[in-house]
Symmetry: C2
C-alpha cells in the first residue's frame, strides 16, 4: 500500500514581477476563500493523534526485521520504472533503502504507474514487507534488505546525485557536479544531501563537545549582548544598526563582555553565539556572520594555564568527533576525501619567532598546534605585553591543518595600563568607558580566546570553503536564503 | 603573610568631557612612554608559571583543613579594624569566609594598618592558617572555620551588602537598598553579589538542561543567521542594519530558518541564540534583545507529539534545576523569597477557549501549563488552521507562574496554503520567496516553539523583572554597559 503524505510541487521558476503582481491580485481575490481552503488543507494533513501504525526509521531496516510488515516515511531519492515493476531508493537523512513495487496481488497496474510518476523528493508513507536480499545492495546504506512496495521524476533546481558527486568526477566522466552558488541558492535541497546531513550533525557535535568539556572544567555559560553602543575592537569593520532614535553596532566579538564577567567574579566563562564582521573579504575562509566559541578564564600564576585549558578542550573535541562521529566523517569523505585529523598530546606549542623554521626542520606530525608570543604591534589594544620583551605579547593563535582557528591572549587587567594601551591605538576612551571602568574595582589576571565554529568544522573534515560548514552563509555578496 | 595581587582603584566619577580631552592629550604625550610602562606593569603581574603554592578555593575551606597553612585568592568583602586586630570577610563567588589579622609574631603593626586600609573589592592573595571555631560564624558561608591573617573601606558606586538586602528591608530598618538603574549602570559590581552569581549559574544550567534533554531525544543543534534580507514575521518591530551598499534586518526569531531545516530533513532541530525585537515596550518582561531557545520538529501523526516533547523538555529542566541547583535557589530566595516551582506530570494541557473558567474552577496545583488552540486571527501567517474550526488554530502557549514563556504552533507545510495565508496577512511574497520555496519539494508536517531564556529563569526563581536575568539587558532606553 502506498500513502502519499506530502507531495512535492514543481517550482514556478523565473517568476517575473508582472506575474507576481497578477498572482497577488488573484491571491487577494482568493483571500475570502482562504479560510475555507485552509480548513480543507488542514483536514488533508490532520491525522489521528492515536494512530497505531508505528513508523520505522530507514536506518533501522535490518535483516532482523525480515518478513515484517512495516510503515516507513521517507523521501523519494531515485526511481526506475521497468515494465511492470518500479524500483526506487527511499532516503531519510543519511540513510537509504531500495524499494520495489510490482504489479501483482498487492498492487494494481494503475498503482505502479501512479507511483512511477510521483515527484522526486516527495515524502511518502509506504507500507511494505522487509525482505532479505542475497546480494548486498551497494548503492544503499541498508545493504541487506529491500522493501517490497515504490515512485518518478521531476525537474528540481539541482539533482541530489549530482550534489554528492566527488569534485572533478563530473568533468572526467561527463557527469554533472553542482556549483557552489547553485547549491547555496537552493540550500534547502543541498542540505538534504548525505554530505550536508553529515557535516551539520558533526558540527552540532563540535558545539556539544566544546560545552560539555568546559562545563566539566567548572566553566559557566554566559549570554552576551550583540547590540552594543560602541564598537568592541576599535571601530573598523563594524555593522551599524538603527536603534530607536539613535544608532548602535553589532558586536564583532563578545570580548569586552566576557572580560567584564571575569571582573564580576565568574572566573571561567564561555559563550557560543554569532559574531559580526563588516569586512569586505571574499575568500574561502571569511564570513560576515559566523559562530564564535568563546572562552575567558582567570588564571592563578601564568597565562599558559589558559592555553592548556583551551588546547585540552580542542583535544577533547577531536577525540569526541573521532569516536562518536565516524559515520559522518566517512560520509563526508566519500565526496571530499581527506586524511584523518592528527593531533598530539600534549598539544605542540611553539613560539611565534621560531615557529616557521622549527616546523620546517622538525616536521611534527600534527594538524593542530599553538603559536605563542606574537608581536605586540599586530594584536588588539587589550593584549598584555610580554614582560620580557616589550615588542612581543602574551598572545597566541591556534592552527588546524595550517589555518588559524583561534586567536587569544592574556588581557590587560589594570585600568591604568588599559587606558594607556587604548590611547596608543587611537581608541575613543569615552566609548569604552564601561569596559575600562570594570577593571577599577579589582580584576584577576585572565586570558582567553575566540574560536570560529565553521572553520573548525571545515578544517577537521578537510573541506575547502567555510560556506560548506555554514547552514545559511553570509558574505559581502550573499544575504539569502 | 599578605600578598596583594590586584588592588582595586577608586573610580574617577563624573569625568567631564573637558577633563577627558585633557586626559586624552596627556595620554597622547604619554604614548611614547607606554611601551616602557606596559613592560613594567606586565612584570608586576607576571609570576612564575611553575609556582608551587596551590590556591585553595573559599568553598573548600572546611574543618578537614584545620591547622593547615594555605593560600587563598579572594575579594575583600567587608572589614572591621579593632585595636591591634583587623577582621575581614573574604569572598569568592557565592562563598565567604572570615579572616583575622592580629599584631604578633606573624604580622607587624604596620602590616595590620596597611591591610585595614586596602580598598574594598580588591582581590588579594593571603597565606593563612585554617582554624576551627567554637561558635558557628553565621554571617559567612564557611561557618566552621576562620583564617588567621586580613584589610579596609573604599567608595564604591554601590555597596554589595546593600545590593543583596531583601526588597523593602531598606525602608523598614533605615538601611539602603540599591535601585535597578544603579545596579545596571554598575553591572560588573552588581553581578558579584551572591544573588547575581546564583541567578546566572542557574541560567547556565537552564541552557545545559535544555540542550542535553533535546540531544538525548535525537535533536540536532543548528545555527541560524541573525542578519537576514527580509523581516521574518511580517515587517513590524524589526531593527535595520546597514549591510555594505544595501540594508538588512536583524532576525526577530529563527522561525523561517528552523523550518527550512525541517524541509532539509533534519527532522528535529533546536537552537540557542539572540533574537531581536524593535518594540518600544518598557515593561518588566520585555527586552529588545533576548536569548531564544528554539525547537522545531517533524511529527508523525499529530502536533500534540511536539507539545509532548516540549513539555517533557521543560519538565526535565525543572527537575534538573531542583536537583542540581538547590544552593543557587536558596541563595536567590534569601533576597527574593518565593515558593518552590510546582509542576505536574504529565503537564496540564487545556484548550484556550475553556482555560480561564477551568483554571478558576479546578484550581490545579501547578506553576506550568499549556493553553492549546488559539484563535487563528491572533497568530502569525505560518500557523496551521484548526481542521475542525477555521476560527481556531493548531497553536499553543506555555505558561510559568501565570506568564507566557513559549509561543508555538503546527506550521503550514504546503507552499500553496502558505502563499494564501501570507497574502491574507498582507505580507510581500517576494520577500519571503526563499522561505515559501522551501516547501515546494516536499515537507513533512511539523510544529515547534520558541522559549525566552530570561523569562524562564525569572519565573522559575519567582523574580519580578527580566532585567535581573539578563547579564547586560537591552531595552528601548538601555544600550550600556
Amino acid at each position: 500500500m502506498l500513502c502519499i503524505c506530502v507531495a512535492g510541487e514543481e517550482e514556478q521558476q523565473a517568476q517575473s514581477k508582472k506575474a507576481l503582481k497578477k498572482q497577488q491580485k488573484e491571491a487577494e481575490k482568493a483571500a475570502k476563500k482562504a479560510e475555507k481552503q485552509a480548513k480543507l488543507a488542514a483536514e488533508q494533513q490532520e491525522t489521528d493523534e492515536d494512530a497505531d501504525r508505528a513508523l520505522v526509521r530507514v536506518q533501522d531496516l535490518t535483516p532482523e526485521k525480515a518478513e515484517q510488515q512495516i510503515w516507513v516515511r521517507a523521501r523519494i531519492h531515485t526511481s526506475r520504472a521497468k515494465g511492470k515493476q518500479c524500483f526506487l531508493v527511499l532516503r531519510h537523512q543519511q540513510f537509504t533503502v531500495q524499494a520495489l513495487l510490482a504489479v501483482g496481488d498487492r498492487a494494481s497496474k494503475q498503482m505502479v504507474k501512479f507511483a512511477a510518476n510521483l515527484t522526486k523528493e516527495s515524502i511518502i508513507d509506504v507500507e511494505a514487507v522487509v525482505k532479505k536480499v542475497e546480494q548486498k545492495i551497494e548503492s544503499c546504506s541498508q545493504q541487506d534488505v529491500e522493501l517490497h512496495v515504490e515512485r518518478s521524476e521531476a525537474r528540481l533546481p539541482l539533482q541530489l546525485e549530482d550534489a554528492v558527486r566527488p569534485e572533478g568526477e563530473g568533468d572526467e566522466e561527463g557527469r554533472a557536479t553542482v556549483n557552489q552558488d547553485t547549491r547555496l541558492d537552493n540550500r534547502v535541497i543541498d542540505l538534504r544531501t548525505t554530505t550536508s546531513q553529515a557535516i551539520f550533525r558533526l558540527q552540532s557535535g563540535v558545539c556539544q563537545l566544546f560545552r560539555d568539556t568546559l562545563i566539566n572544567k567548572g566553566f559557566v555559560e554566559i549570554q552576551t549582548p550583540k547590540i552594543i553602543s560602541a564598537a568592541s575592537e576599535g571601530g573598523a569593520n563594524v555593522f551599524t544598526v538603527s536603534y530607536f532614535k539613535t544608532s548602535a553596532y553589532l558586536a564583532q566579538s563578545p570580548q569586552l563582555y566576557k572580560q567584564m564577567c571575569i571582573c564580576a567574579d565568574f572566573d571561567k566563562v564561555f559563550c557560543v553565539g554569532p559574531v559580526f564582521r563588516a569586512e569586505d573579504s571574499n575568500t574561502h575562509r571569511h564570513l560576515t556572520e559566523f559562530v564564535g566559541l568563546d572562552i575567558e578564564m582567570a588564571f592563578n600564576y601564568h597565562y599558559h594555564e589558559v592555553i592548556d585549558s583551551i588546547t585540552d578542550t580542542m583535544v577533547q573535541i577531536f577525540k569526541g568527533l573521532r569516536d562518536r562521529f565516524q559515520t559522518e566523517i566517512q560520509t563526508v569523505n566519500k565526496q571530499y576525501p581527506s586524511e584523518p585529523f592528527k593531533f598530539l598530546e600534549p598539544t605542540l606549542r611553539l613560539e611565534y619567532k621560531e615557529a616557521v623554521a622549527m616546523l620546517k626542520a622538525a616536521g611534527y606530525d600534527t594538524d593542530f598546534y599553538v603559536l605563542d608570543k606574537y608581536p605586540l604591534a599586530v594584536r588588539p589594544f587589550y593584549t598584555m605585553p610580554d614582560p620580557n620583551n616589550p615588542k612581543y605579547s602574551n598572545s597566541y593563535d591556534m592552527f588546524m591543518r595550517g589555518e588559524e582557528i583561534l586567536s587569544g591572549a592574556q588581557r590587560v587587567h589594570d585600568a591604568q595600563l588599559l587606558t594607556e594601551r587604548a590611547t596608543h591605538h587611537g581608541i575613543d576612551l569615552e566609548k569604552i568607558k564601561a569596559y575600562i571602568d570594570s577593571f577599577r574595582y579589582g580584576a584577576p589576571p585572565h586570558a582567553g580566546g575566540g574560536i570560529g565554529l565553521e572553520r573548525v568544522t571545515m578544517l577537521y573534515l578537510g573541506l575547502h570553503n567555510v560556506r560548506q560548514t555554514s547552514m545559511f552563509p553570509r558574505d559581502p555578496k550573499r544575504l539569502t536564503p
